[in-house]
Symmetry: C2
Subunit: 207 residues, 2 copies
């Protein structure tokens, strides 16, 4: 069985749990208390030199890090990670778009709202909010005449982009300005074995 080093509030971790649920693949989780520095210990850095969750531990004892790399690994041999070179490269294009344009903007803005950092660095918060808005604009335009992100079929690119996009409101983004994104989010939530996640940070912080 695979083991997931996990933090409940992280949408990067949630992506892996959504995929595992949809693949009906059993797994166990290990909670990593990132706010207590548990992802920065020398022991954890051996699992992932970047000091971040998620990390997947394989039955062989090997570790794999970076959420999108884990998605690709787990989806190998399924339609969620197409094999033909160009569809596969296009899934990669959107996985990289997500980690470059969505996660560091929408994910960070959402995270700062919990930790109060939005108030201590107003300029940077505003800048990242603008960048997140631009990323949503690009994604909305792309989805305008499409059912899914790549090749009109549900892939790990949808899972990855869904992760932070569907909780963007927690970062102050108004998704009603992005109708194609709203339709696409609904489509994803209708997929077999979809599971909700992650809980709002406020629930984590207080409960």
């Amino acid at each position: 069985m695979v083991r997931l080093y996990d933090y409940a509030g992280s949408a990067n971790c949630y992506k892996i749990k959504l995929l595992l649920a949809q693949l009906e693949r059993p797994y166990e989780t290990v909670d990593v208390e990132i706010f207590r520095g548990e992802s920065r210990t020398p022991e954890f850095l051996k699992k992932n030199p970047a000091g971040r969750v998620p990390v997947l531990e394989l039955p062989s004892g090997e570790y794999l890090a970076e959420s999108s790399a884990i998605l690709a690994y787990l989806a190998t041999g399924t339609a969620l990670w197409p094999e033909a070179p160009l569809p596969r490269a296009r899934v990669l294009q959107w996985l990289f778009f997500e980690q470059y344009e969505i996660e560091p903007t929408i994910g960070t803005v959402r995270f700062w709202k919990l930790t109060g950092r939005d108030k201590s660095q107003l300029d940077l918060f505003a800048k990242k909010s603008d960048q997140g808005q631009n990323a949503l604009t690009a994604l909305d335009r792309h989805l305008e005449h499409r059912s899914f992100v790549v090749a009109e079929t549900y892939t790990i690119a949808d899972i990855a982009l869904y992760g932070y996009t569907h909780v963007a409101a927690e970062g102050g983004f108004d998704l009603s300005n992005f109708p194609a994104i709203e339709r696409w989010l609904k489509r994803i939530e209708e997929q077999p074995r979809w599971v909700p996640g992650p809980p709002p940070y406020s629930a984590l912080a207080h409960g």
Copy 2:
């Protein structure tokens, strides 16, 4: 023949040119003047909704964006992009590490030095310099007992990480603090058909 939408100062573009040279694959380039907004025109956004170079145009007329996705596509069927699921996922792990930890720190810091933005936002410049230093520390630790980033063989993960790491000095990073990285850079420069990349911004800016 493939066509590369290119900006000479971009190490993201250089990565593609290094791979194409090593694969001995002919290509043509189209210069995109990013400082004049040419990557943000409606026409260019149809090629890449994220409005960035590089973009690859295929003989079919289709476009592919995101440097790492382009590397994977072009290296399909070669040892530079291993087929076995775990080595392939590990290459992806380091491609995502590069786009998340190296490019937005070392790449941005280097870019700001040209445009003078390092002086107008000292706090953010210092923060990104620190993050870049941390990324180099993680990479150096990983390379300490390895010849290449993944599986002791030269892959597109090496090409991607080489892109901004080898010009880190232009962003003020002192690579002599990272001896494993220095050895690895030299190893890459000894690969067949290696080509030097991108000129310092100062050369581009002045002439």
